[in-house]
């Protein structure tokens, strides 16, 4: 199956998925999804390993992990695509879907949770089935960090719809990670706090050597820092470095650990390095300008993202380059309040002097 969405189209999809208003992004994603025409979307199945596949459609990328025990699906795109996603999954394997993992709470990643989890089954027996009946086994478990459940179950803001219960995680974890053995290999679901949101998970298939990153890493846009849902550039960069701690390239410095991004093409460590470098350099520039006491307008006038704009920037949509800069600026100001005018000059001079050059 083929997909021919270029990066601009992806941005459009991201726009549909994420309109940040008071923490109601998942709802907004659903609302906009209802206005979109998904009829023309095709699902591109990219084989990553013999037992791991990446499905690219019109939401966040879906990861499918297969084996003797069944399937684990990471992220489910938009609800209207569920039939197509399920068709693509069944072209890979007829095995039972045992788990759905949500890397975070955005609507373009959880929209298909209901349909895809209900196409699966949970292994359970004994008292669990006795107490809960068919509800204990009638769908695949939906796993996520507890902050995903907290966000999705929160009372909606005025004028917003509540996120349907069927999209919520059925099992959550708190702390650093949840890990288990499935299909003969360790699956680690690792929490990256306060990054893209406050509920981000990276899913690492240890034996297959594949990482699904959710929107902590994409190849199509600047990191979207969803501040309203607990995100921060500091956490985002920490998360990218944490992903790099997992990845190991092959002896020709590519391949090795493969990385399935939240949006965009299949990647490996080097692609994450470029993205981490970009995010770090832009953050460091703005941090330095804040230390020098520059206003937001002055920082923007210095074009701190100019070298990366043709690759990641945009002036339209829900996450413009200007918003990226502004978000970092506000965080840096909060972390490093500008010095009082009387001391600013002295510190600046001391820094500029340096030594040894």
């Amino acid at each position: 199956m083929q997909i021919r969405l270029n990066s601009r189209a992806w941005r459009g999809v991201m726009v549909a998925a994420a309109i940040v208003t008071g923490g109601a992004l998942a709802v907004a994603g659903r609302a906009v999804a209802q206005q979109q025409n998904f009829d023309t979307v095709q699902i591109d199945t990219v084989k990553v390993r013999d037992n791991v596949y990446m499905l690219v459609g019109a939401g966040g990328n879906t990861t499918v992990f297969t084996g003797d025990e069944g399937l684990l699906v990471v992220d489910t795109q938009f609800a209207p695509l569920s039939t197509k996603i399920l068709t693509a999954i069944r072209a890979i394997s007829q095995g039972p879907i045992r788990y759905v993992v949500s890397t975070h709470m955005h609507g373009d990643h959880i929209g298909g949770n209901e349909a895809i989890s209900k196409a699966g089954r949970t292994r359970a027996g004994g008292n669990v089935v006795g107490d809960l009946g068919a509800g204990a086994t009638g769908q695949a478990a939906i796993l996520a960090h507890e902050n995903v459940l907290n966000r999705l179950s929160a009372a909606p803001a005025a004028g917003q719809q509540a996120v349907p219960f069927a999209l919520w995680p059925t099992e959550t974890y708190f702390g650093k990670k949840r890990e288990f053995l499935f299909n003969g290999e360790a699956v680690q679901i690792i929490h990256e706090p306060k990054a893209h949101t406050d509920g981000d998970s990276v899913v690492f298939f240890r034996k297959s050597d594949v990482v699904a990153t959710g929107d902590l890493f994409t190849t199509v846009m600047y990191p979207f820092i969803d501040v309203a849902n607990g995100g921060s550039i500091t956490g985002e960069i920490a998360a990218l470095n944490a992903i790099l701690d997992i990845t190991v390239p092959s002896n020709v410095n590519e391949g090795g650990t493969m990385v399935i991004p939240g949006h965009g093409r299949l990647s490996d460590e080097q692609d994450v390095i470029e993205y981490r470098d970009m995010a770090t350099i832009v953050r460091d520039r703005i941090k330095e300008y804040v230390k020098r006491g520059l206003t937001l307008d002055q920082v923007k006038a210095k074009k701190p993202t100019l070298d990366f704009d043709p690759r990641y920037g945009t002036d339209t949509g829900f996450w413009t380059t200007s918003m990226f800069i502004e978000t970092i600026y506000k965080e840096m100001v909060a972390m490093n309040p500008p010095p009082a005018p009387a001391s600013r000059g002295r510190k600046g001079n001391q820094t500029q002097k340096g030594s040894g050059e």
Partner: protein, 284 residues
């Protein structure tokens, strides 16, 4: 073209062997984004363990100190050429140029240092189209090539001389195609095995560096940003590069442009961002 080939460095020798000087952007069709990328580039980035073994992409690797082995892979039953292989001693890279008519992968496939290449013969000239490249260098003084670049190559053999001419198209960092030629000479004998190896084991080289630090200079504040132009008396308008600097008529522009002042003593007090927001004066 089968055999062992070694490059000749008479073209662009200062760039290819000792290495380009900082801010030498002469004759390259770069845009403002590429210029800022290079202006803030700090070679210290390649001391990061994860970047020490960074490979040169196929539009750049042929111009380095590489030994090149070329051979054909043929179908065992039909003897049709399925692919032409290039092995580079530099970074131990193997490049496959598919000759069987297969299409290039879709937009969601992984990118590699060598990219995905398909070839066809036009008489005695091999024409290669390459896509799916990783981000790399246009010039290894920090001038970037994006992962959206693609390349067309023309390979011609004349006796023991092999010529590659490539056109690089990069919608992110180039305003016009970059065209270069490179010459190889057939090696009369097989090279020792060790000359084909490039072992790279990354290690922590800077023990005191803060975790997650990415060395870079603030745009416009590189302490040696004027050094190249001043050393050689090159007007800024030429030194900045850009498509106009590629063409012969630009010589008239250069003659009219003011030359920079002579190179002063080394400046002091670099503004170098080495960690999350940190400025550290750099010694040398």
């Amino acid at each position: 073209m089968d055999g062992t080939w070694q490059p000749r460095y008479h073209e662009d020798q200062p760039e290819r062997i000792p290495g380009p000087e900082l801010r030498d952007y002469l004759g390259l069709p770069i845009n403002d984004a590429a210029r800022q990328f290079a202006d803030s580039w700090d070679p210290g980035r390649i001391t990061l363990p994860e970047e020490q073994c960074r490979v040169h992409v196929s539009p750049y690797i042929y111009r380095g100190p590489t030994n090149l082995r070329i051979w054909e892979e043929k179908h065992p039953k039909t003897q049709d050429v399925l692919a032409i292989k290039h092995y580079h001693s530099t970074y131990e890279q193997t490049r496959t140029i598919y000759m069987d008519g297969r299409p290039h992968p879709g937009p969601n496939a992984a990118h590699t240092w060598m990219g995905f290449s398909t070839g066809r013969w036009d008489g005695d000239m091999l024409i290669i189209e390459t896509t799916h490249l990783k981000q790399g260098w246009v010039r290894r003084n920090g001038l970037p090539m994006s992962d959206r670049a693609h390349m067309t190559e023309y390979w011609v053999r004349n006796g023991d001389l092999l010529t590659q001419i490539f056109m690089l198209f990069d919608p992110v960092y180039l305003t016009e195609p970059l065209v270069k030629s490179t010459e190889f000479v057939r090696s009369p004998r097989e090279l020792p095995a060790g000359t084909w190896l490039w072992v790279c084991d990354p290690v922590v080289e800077i023990a005191t560096r803060e975790d997650g630090a990415v060395p870079a200079y603030l745009p416009g504040e590189h302490p040696f940003k004027d050094e190249f132009a001043q050393r050689w008396g090159i007007p800024e308008i030429a030194n900045n590069g850009g498509a106009a600097t590629m063409y012969p008529e630009f010589q008239d522009v250069v003659k009219q442009a003011p030359k920079p002042p002579p190179l002063p003593p080394p400046s002091r007090g670099a503004t170098r961002v080495t960690g999350p927001g940190q400025q550290q004066p750099q010694g040398r």
